[in-house]
């Protein structure tokens, strides 16, 4: 419990202290990653100390998906606390490594969608580095439209598939 809270505090502090820098990814929303983890502590209050924070369902770190609008790679405000919490975890666990997998819906060219998924993963990586995670801890890759979580051919399925998944090494 203490550790988790400490992690999150560090995340807050480092997020504020981190320098903004130009990213290769075109993040249209200039505030992306600037206000991380504001809601994070609330989610940890019921965490049992023996649980792995990454898998504890009451811990925000167990949430692993960031969703996107159609044809967009902007990290929406509602996911900034989630992204910030993971950045904080990486910051306080320097040996942790994370794989960000970008996904798209099924419409259009497979290779172009692969590149679009990469832009989404890069946007999350950028937000995480702004919150203090090291570049070397994060690999952003794309699965494009190849690994849909929802198999339907409707807007609900497409929305589910426009997302970045956060996977820790060893998972």
């Amino acid at each position: 419990m203490k550790k988790v809270v400490a992690v999150l505090l560090i995340s807050l502090l480092t997020a504020c202290a981190s320098q903004t820098k130009k990213s290769d990814a075109e993040v249209e929303d200039k505030s992306a990653g600037a206000k991380p983890a504001t809601e994070a502590p609330r989610a940890t209050t019921e965490a049992a100390p023996t649980l792995n924070p990454l898998t504890d369902p009451n811990n925000i770190l167990s949430r692993r998906s960031v969703y996107f609008e159609f044809d967009s790679f902007v990290v929406k405000d509602e996911y900034k606390s989630l992204v910030g919490a993971h950045a904080g975890y990486l910051r306080s666990n320097p040996n942790a490594r994370v794989l960000l997998q970008g996904n798209t819906d099924e419409r259009g060219s497979r290779e172009y969608n692969l590149a679009l998924g990469q832009k989404r993963a890069d946007a999350v990586r950028y937000a995480m580095t702004l919150s203090g995670a090291k570049e070397s801890q994060i690999e952003s890759v794309s699965l494009g439209e190849e690994k849909p979580r929802a198999s339907g051919h409707d807007e609900a399925s497409w929305a589910e598939n426009r997302r970045v998944d956060i996977r820790y090494q060893g998972e």
Binding site: E26, L99, E111, Y112, A115, D122, S142, E146
Partner: protein
Amino acid sequence: MTGIIYGFPRIPLKAILMQVRLRRFYSSAVVLFLWLSGANAYATLNIEIFGGGATQIPIAIVPFAAEEKISQSITPVVAADLQRSGLFRLVDPAGLRPHEPVEVSYPDWVNRGAGALVIGSTTILAGGQVAIRFQLLDVAKQEQLMSYAETVPAEQLRAAAHRIADMIYEKLTGDVGVFSTRIAYVVKQGKKYSLQVADADGYNAQPVIEYTEPIISPSWSPDGTKLAYVSFENKKPVVYVQHLATRARKAVANFRGSNSAPAWSPDGSKLAVVLSLMGGSQIFLINADGGGLQRLTQSSGIDTEPSFSPDGRYIIFTSDRGGSPQIYRMPVAEGVSRSAERLTFEGSYNVSPRYSPDGKSFTFIHRGGGGFNVAIQDMATRQVQLLTDSRFDESPSFAPNGRIILYATEIKGRGILSAVSSDGRTRQQLSTQAGDIREPAWGPMRRLQN
């Protein structure tokens, strides 16, 4: 090859194609083929023609002498090839069975409406090899157009039949036949992905590699001995090159981030690949063995789907640098200005470009009001022609003679392969017995084995 005589009253190809009409057609024929092919161990592709015109070359093909005794009859393969091209109409021999030119009564064939006549024979030799001989005859002029003989092992009878179809096609149309070529594609069945290679008529489908993770973007080496492709078996896209004969394979682009969209240089020495290694998705050159990394494009956005010009001097590719995905061209050689020139301007989504074999045009996917369609654009005039009217077309690739474009499309939610003539006038559908089929790539020319 002997006895090549010109003078067959050729119907000009353009005149034929002017009258070939495209018609829409749905899946009853496909269902029949699915049922017929149910017994095969591997998904065999079946091909149905949708189109064809009134002014096709009328050709009669007489079953070769003794071909019912060999393991694979020759003439049914030849007839199917020629018919599939959309440029021929099969004339029923109706009981006539000449096997030698001296046995041909030309007036009988004139009466049957044949313009060209194919006769021949097969002989099983000691050791199981088969000697094949055929003649192509001009019915109107009562002349022999060509004569050919070869001896092949029994397991190469289909290949020999495709070669014969190529020779007939070339002689009568003046164009290069592609019946001896192969195609590659990916079949998704349940959770299994299978990269397969088949003959251009869909037979002899063989899995190259099978995984429970996706495989995309197969690309043939120019000599037809290797395939490059993208596999997701390691939680991210990695580019592999695999030898078809030995099955040996190597990860040639497995850099940090995503690795995808392999395209061979025409001399086979290099691959253009798309890497996110240095941010964004950018096009790089690597040696075919994976070494010698060199960056080609420099943009802050997406540059992907490279395709080399036949002379190797340019690539065309998809880029969103102008705000929407469009097709650009840039020189490849070092020391020249590598500024990219935008090629497409119609619409807000033009992707997946592939150079034509003569370099004078490119095919691509254009999103219009009705969906994603195969289009072709002339390099010089920039004129665009839409070739299809379906909803979800993807991954177009040219046959090595430039006459046909193979692409993936969808019928009732199931992925299938289709082919359209590069003038848009004839269309074929290819199907498998089950599964989603996608990511087709038409292989290069194979050299005649004499």
